[in-house]
Amino acid sequence: MDTSQYMQMFIEESEDNLQRLNENLLELENSPGDLNILNEIFRIAHTLKGMAGTMGFTKMQKLTHNAENILSELRTGEIKVSTELIDILFNSLDALENYVDEIIRTGSEGHEDYTHLIESLNEILEGKGQEAETQDKAAAAKEPISTGEITLPEAQKNVVREAQRQALNVYQIHISLSPNCVLKSARAFIIFRELESIGEIIHAVPPVEDIEDEKFDLDFDLVVVTSHMEDEIKDILMGVAEVDTVNISRVSVEDKVIESVDAAAPAIEEIHQEPDQDEKPKTQSKIRPVASKTVRVDIDRLDALMNLVSELIIVKTQLEGIGASEAEDISYGESIEYLERVTTSLHDAVMKVRMVPVEIVFNRFPRMIRDVSRDLGKEINLIMSGEETELDRTVIDEIGDPLIHLLRNAADHGLETTEERLAIGKTREGTIELKAYQDGNNVVIEVTDDGKGIDIEKIKQSAIEKNVVSREIASKMSEKEILDLLFRPSFTTTKEITNVSGRGVGLDVVKSKITNLGGHIEVETKLGKGSNFIVRLPLTLAIIQALMVQLGDETYAIPLSNIQNIEDIKVSDIQYVQNQEVILLRNEVIPIIRLHEILGVERQEDKETLMVVIVQKGDKQVGFVIDDLIGQQEIVIKSLGKYLSGIKMIAGATILGNGEVALILDINTLI
């Protein structure tokens, strides 16, 4: 069956399912007894398995199947949820993600079997669990690669047993190529193809990837399951040019109890290290990615597009009519105007389609923080907010890595250890806050921790030691300038290098990534209280919910996120505090600002009641007097351009449905 047309769907849904598995698994860890979560996990895993199977990704299917077995035992209560168990399940998810990544890159699931994981999963099933771990590590030390007889990994042994049961032949074939052979990998490929036509290659030493990359000398070993006999195979192989010798021996596996090769701990390492392996990038560059970038689009937004296109068609018909009847100029002008309005809105609508919530990036952080928290032995509470803030798809793709880095930094360098925290009277659990919000033309993402903060003196000293700045200059630098040193290349204050952060990749990389996106990053810190990294990403096409208000005959937009509520107040209720108009509202004194005056709009005569929009910034509240409300609307923020960027109280402009422009008030500078 040709499944290529379903590939895109498979990839998207698998990524989705894996993300949901991650989330649910986290929840399960927090409430181990919750059967609903367990059922949900089981259901998703089952879907994933089915889809992988349909697409012919058998390794992926197998791994999921093994994980599913565990889940089903969990459901029946045969096994209890434990941290080790959750760890292994998380590792399995990572492995599955690797499969999906590989599929995105190359279109096939690759050759990694994750045998260790499958074994660990099976061990849990057999109730072995932890006890096995210690002895496994010893076993893992002697790796199976040998020159003579191949030691097969456990999964392959199972295959061999199965083959023996079905009375198939299992051979180990030692093949030596002729020393004159030029294209060794091509020869190997032909050999593989020949063998695959008569049987199945279940194992190779060196691994198949290496053979394909010509990372072998002249000989390699293959283990093949086939119904053919030794001589036949030999004939076939000797028929391939440049094959020197072929030695075939029968492989048999004793039916003894599973001797585990590896366990959970080394498996984790393997997975983590995988992307670092140097042969990876090479294969990557050779193969064209099969998956293109996609954006999931809210059906409403597509409907809006559809409506606009239908309007375009109406205009077209109108224009045709005019052309035919040579009617009045006026209707022609009107149609053109209409056309312009529609195209403008169409442009906006298409822009909106490109916008995706930062949630997509944020989603994976709880899982990451869990792992980091376990690695570091710190208790960390991650609070996320503003996941719904939207960013352009291209920005979303790029912002993940810098954020991961900042979060890891916060966990590793920012937060103190539990003992330290308790000693200085802080809560046991360190808090890392990740929030995203819209600020005028920017989307701001903040990573805040309540840890030890950054020691400015220490940075200064370190900078002098490393000759980043001279002592003289350093003494004149402001705190902010010194903090900026953190973003200089290879500047790191911690001497120890930990697994979590500080692997030679510094904040400079974070900064350059953000700068490339046209954004900028700064840090605020209070020694002993914590640090706050603020990432600002500029947006020419951000979309926000806004309240449209009328002032005189002008229309302004106030970002809805700033608005607390709208009140009608009596003019007679206004009081004065030091010449400032204030009102008392629910026991709070709120200053009143006449927007007319600030914005230079002609003020209308005071009516008996004033309409006041109460806006909030931090814990400050202010009431803006407006003339009328127009309503709530989703608006696309556009920049006023470089010439008018100096005007502080205007955050940008937006285009209204009638094609006119409305300015967006920048609440932050108005309060």
Binding site: I598, M649, A653, V661
Partner: protein, 154 residues
């Protein structure tokens, strides 16, 4: 008698001629993106006085400068002939409100004179020269848009 052949490389530029009251001005067509009929312009608070506001040009928000205000001329109601010249300097667009746009003319270097008016009251910075048109019977003031716009707005 010896003849010498002289290569004269006369460079010709095209200018958009616009009208402000009685005076004609020319702007280099290279920096003109289009000419639009007057549209509704949203006033921008605290903007320089000559900035009428911002307009929507096919989805882009661009500032609009009123040249009459910029040159401190008497204000005139917008009418049928009023146009907005959309200019682009580097990557930024600015609209210029003018009374009228007349034509596009070609001027050789030779037809352009440098201005030498010694009068401190006349701001010469943004005048690129004076072009002679209609066989020298009439003149247009050529504007250096970059200086004009950037001096006003930056």
């Amino acid at each position: 008698m010896e003849w010498m052949i002289v290569e004269t490389s006369v460079s010709t530029k095209q200018y958009v001629i616009l009208q402000l009251g009685e005076e004609s001005y020319g702007v280099d067509i290279q920096s003109v993106q289009g000419i639009e009929k007057i549209v509704t312009v949203a006033r921008v608070p605290q903007a320089p006085a000559c900035i009428e506001g911002v307009m929507n040009l096919r989805g882009e928000i661009i500032p609009v400068m009123n040249l009459r205000k910029r040159f401190s001329l008497k204000q005139k109601e917008h009418d049928e002939d009023t146009r907005i010249i959309i200019t682009r300097i580097e990557d930024s667009q600015v609209g210029l409100i003018v009374d009228e746009v007349n034509e596009v003319i070609e001027l050789d270097d030779e037809e352009i004179e440098n201005v030498q008016i010694i009068d401190n009251n006349v701001d010469l910075e943004y005048i690129a020269g004076v072009g002679k048109i209609k066989d020298g019977t009439s003149v247009v003031t050529l504007l250096d848009l970059k200086t004009l716009i950037e001096d006003t707005l930056l």
